[in-house]
Amino acid sequence: MSEAALVGLFVATVQFATLVFLAALGELIAERAGVLNLGVEGMMAMGAVSGFMVGLETGSPWAAFFAAAAVGALVGGLHAMVSVVLGADQVVSGLALTIGGLGLAAYVGRNVVGERPETQFTDLGIAGLADIRWFGDIFFDQPPVVYLTVLLGLAVWFVLARTRLGLALRAVGESAPTTDAVGHSVMALRAGAVMVGGAFAGAAGSFLSLYMAPGWTEGMVAGRGWIAVALVIFGAWRPGRLALGALLFGFTLALQPRLQSFDIEFLGVQVNRISPALLGILPFVLTVVVLVIISWRYRHRPSPAPAALGLPYRREER
């Protein structure tokens, strides 16, 4: 393998990691507040198509990025309405969001399929650092969304661990009655968390359509939303571990399309002769393996999952 190909692999790893980390960070916020949102895939698709279309219209990638976040928040708000305010089953509502979101995105974007954006995010060569051999390209010459996502990760960690709001969010994910009894609004906390989570997912979707694969095609999210959901479990609901998991999954996602060009043998198999369809399931195999490992590791301990995850709360229910 050439040096350029190897650097390219790691550059793509960082970008894929950013993509799934941003979406998973949003899901982490919602789940820490006790709301499971299986609609990440749908929210990302809506973010991808709306970001792309706003980008076409305005020519500004930032306007597109924040519009996608707003659309994600709105779509997340729908899930909050159904599952938090009305107390419906979160799994059903989330799945509906994924199916509906994918369908709606395909409809909304039917006329822009194949168009190319005029401007997109440019890589942010950080002065002095971008020229470092290998590392410069991988860490210091990436689009601004990468760095913004890192900052968001730090911010989410700080808010959860060090602020009143974070304490309330963690508490509401563990026990809604307790949080209610001390005077926090369960509904506001949870609905807010789901909407912020939606914004993150929408923004992640636009990173896909504005930068990683500029353009819009139906099905372009391609299961990355589901990886984000799995990543939250992998990360044991903690931002730090989530980042590690994102790099691992990012590597797998980056590796998978490149494997075909690798003329190497692994376990007696010529890698570039494996069917692309089989390679395509690699991230999902990893997901299943990770889930098995996680549940095995926690078999004798309380699960790291928020205790009230998935449980709707109604104050006067007896």
């Binding site: 963690r170 508490a171 009894a181 005077g183 609004s185």
Partner: protein, 505 residues
């Protein structure tokens, strides 16, 4: 008597509250003077919990007025009640197990940015001021029930509550801890705070409280201005409306029958993977009641689960009727004659959203099925027999069972478990939280089973009950059996110190 709420710390006036199918409060009153400890008494379903939930802003009353410290309030949420100075300590503690003591205390009343060191220090000061030891940095799941209760009280003090409501506060405490609680509450009352104390334990009510309100069927049945003037029997009468209830006559011990349950060298882990049972040996014979004494959380739950097959022991052997069942499933053990009344009635014992009939037949459909099909008529008939024989008060048999009161749930559960004449009955906290009549009914069923030759393992926190019913008492402390005592002749003080881990030698 004042005609407005001005003289009272709390005045709940004419409270009405209806739930689907249940009238919880039908115009009940509660008046609490400042600086007093006020007992709120009544049977299950009398409306006590509903009243205090109205005061705490959890329920909005259908009618009636809420006055706190001379101000009329219409609480829209618990936040409003807290702001008005109401602190509530629920029976099932409202603590977040994964958060630390300090985090739990400041939750809802924290500064925007958490400076952990500063908060820890202030919490430590507060707990020192009231003589309630609690390490602010420990996560709550590591605490005993008594410590958790202290955290709950500190939570209210942190918010400077002027009214503290305590729902069944001593149910989870050792006798020593209960006495300590009494003096803490007294100290708070002397500062001018008021305490509303809900309990079934009449002797404690008389010892701790100044005045009382008795609720019956959602209405105020009596108020007592000075509890020292009233005797226990009178108080009990006010609660149930009729005299009696309480002690059960236990026929003298018969000759012990054959061994029906035995545990040898049992060891087991709890849900967190820590040792919960250490080298447990015990036997239960046909026709005896073996009482397990101990503060909850000392391995009782794991003991019941190991016996019933819900938890795998890490070592040792379980035998039922001299057959090794160590690896047998809960179903196999049931078919061998092991009945189980779990501590968590509505979670483990019964399925809350299923109907009364479904819950009655779910354990065994032997006589209610034809091939693979359930014969609904027979199911209903079976359920009806249980309902009548065990005196379960139900509405419609097809309604979800969650609507039944605690006592009726327990009657049905016990009836179901006894339907096929078991050889062994494991009963965990079978009378906890039940009203006087419910307790009497359940206790007499246990004694009746003993007379029928069933071996009963009774796990309870109620020493009166254990001493009245058991043929032998085993004290558990931190996963071990630390002592075996004859129930009638062992003084309380000896049991008390054994429960605290210091069995007298």
């Amino acid at each position: 008597m004042a005609s407005s709420g001005a003289d009272y710390a709390v005045w709940l006036r004419g409270i009405e509250k209806q739930f689907p199918g249940v009238i919880a409060c039908a115009g009940a009153d509660l008046r609490v003077r400042p600086g007093t400890i006020h007992a709120l008494l009544g049977e299950n379903g009398a409306g006590k919990t509903t009243m205090v939930n109205v005061l705490a802003g959890v329920y909005r009353p259908d009618a009636g007025e809420v006055w706190v410290n001379g101000q009329q309030h219409q609480f829209q949420s618990p936040a409003d009640a807290i702001a008005a100075g109401v602190g509530m300590v629920y029976q099932e503690f409202r603590l977040v197990p994964t958060l630390t003591v300090a985090e739990n205390i400041v939750l809802g009343a924290a500064p925007g940015l958490l400076r952990t060191a500063e908060i820890v220090e202030r919490v430590a000061e507060l707990s020192a001021a009231y003589g309630m030891a609690a390490d602010p940095t420990r996560p709550v799941w590591q605490l005993s029930m008594g410590e958790r209760q202290r955290v709950e009280i500190l939570k209210s003090l942190w918010r400077n509550a002027s009214v503290l409501v305590m729902d069944e506060p001593t149910a989870v405490l050792t006798p020593g801890e209960a006495a300590e609680l009494g003096s803490t509450l007294r100290a708070m009352a002397e500062e001018g705070r008021s305490v509303i104390y809900i309990s079934h334990k009449l002797d404690q009510v008389v010892a701790f409280c100044d005045e009382a309100t008795v609720l019956r069927q959602g209405k105020t049945a009596a108020t007592v201005d000075n509890l020292q003037d009233v005797d226990l029997t009178k108080l009990a009468e006010m609660m149930v409306g009729t005299s009696g209830g309480g002690n059960v006559d236990r026929p003298p011990p018969r000759d012990r029958g054959p061994e029906v349950l035995s545990l040898q060298n049992i060891g087991s882990l709890n849900d967190r993977g820590l040792p919960a049972l250490i080298d447990i040996n015990m036997t239960v014979h046909s026709g005896e009641i073996v009482g397990i004494v101990g503060v909850s959380g000392n391995g009782q739950k794991e003991l019941a689960e190991v016996i019933t097959g819900l938890r795998r022991p890490t070592q040792g052997r379980v035998a039922l009727k001299e057959q090794d069942v160590t690896g047998a499933s809960p179903g196999d053990r049931y078919r061998l004659g092991l009945a189980y009344v779990p501590e968590d009635r509505l979670g483990v014992g019964l399925a809350p959203k299923m109907s009364v009939v479904d819950n009655a037949v779910v354990r065994s459909y032997k006589s209610q099925r034809r091939g693979l099909m359930l014969v609904m008529d027979r199911c209903v008939e079976f359920c009806q027999i249980l309902v009548e024989r065990f005196g379960v008060r139900v509405g419609r048999l097809n309604d979800p069972i969650a609507g039944l009161s605690g006592g009726n749930l327990q009657r049905l559960l016990l009836g179901r478990e006894l339907a096929e004449q078991p050889a062994v009955l494991v009963a965990a906290q079978p009378t906890r939280g039940l009203d006087v009549q419910g307790v009497a009914a359940i206790q007499s069923h246990l004694v009746e089973q003993r007379a029928n030759g069933v071996g009963v393992l009774l796990i309870s926190e109620d020493l009166d009950e254990l001493q009245a019913l058991s043929d032998v008492l085993l004290v558990m402390y931190e996963g071990r059996v630390v002592g075996e005592y004859p129930p009638d002749v062992t003084p309380r003080s000896i049991l008390g110190s054994a429960m605290a881990g210091n069995p007298p030698t």
